[in-house]
Point group: C2
């Protein structure tokens, strides 16, 4: 199965759509996409995972790295659209308590605007 | 500053001593050291960080990867000897609640033996 990343920026929010499998071969690609957003003038980054069918430990590590960057750079960092497989991968190590997770992109955007960004 | 990893195995416990700075250049080295232990017949892995002076987000991501492996392979995974800098890096994203963290190697070993390993 393929792997694709699309992203767009609107009203100082970056929306990153990931599609396919996030594993040790594709996660560096995700990392390279995320990092520049923390250097840009966006206030929040939403990573939508609704089209992600599989995520291994390297993918999770990459999301944790994004979370670390977000805290350092004082950006909001939200995951949305987690399927069961992806959610289970996170909850295995209780990381579901560490991330801000929203049902879908709209809920993520609503949450961000409520935060006063 | 240099980077060194030493490890030994005793009574089915692997003890990994890390020394120096864990950053994007050295963390692949830590990853390559940790991974084989999850394939071996050890019941627990202790990563002692008392000689680690600095750890960036890639180092944290590597530890999270170790934690994921440990849950999948049903091994205990314990961090010990965290200095203030390293602990703060983890607590920034509330990861201090996700890892089992002990004051020093002895406390880590005591904890492991109390778990009935």
């Amino acid at each position: 199965m393929g792997f694709k990343i699309n992203y767009c920026e609107r009203d100082k929010v970056a929306l990153v759509n990931v599609e396919g499998e996030i594993d040790m071969y594709t996660s560096p690609n995700l990392r390279d996409t995320l990092l520049p957003f923390f250097k840009k003038k966006v206030d929040a980054i939403v990573v939508d995972l609704s089209l992600v069918s599989f995520m291994d430990s390297s993918g999770i590590a990459t999301l944790v790295e994004g979370l670390q960057w977000s805290k350092k750079e004082k950006r909001k960092f939200v995951l949305s659209g987690l399927g069961k497989t992806v959610f289970n991968a996170l909850s295995l190590t209780k990381l579901d308590n560490v991330f801000t997770i929203k049902e879908n992109i709209q809920e993520a955007l609503d949450w961000i605007s409520r935060q006063g960004v």
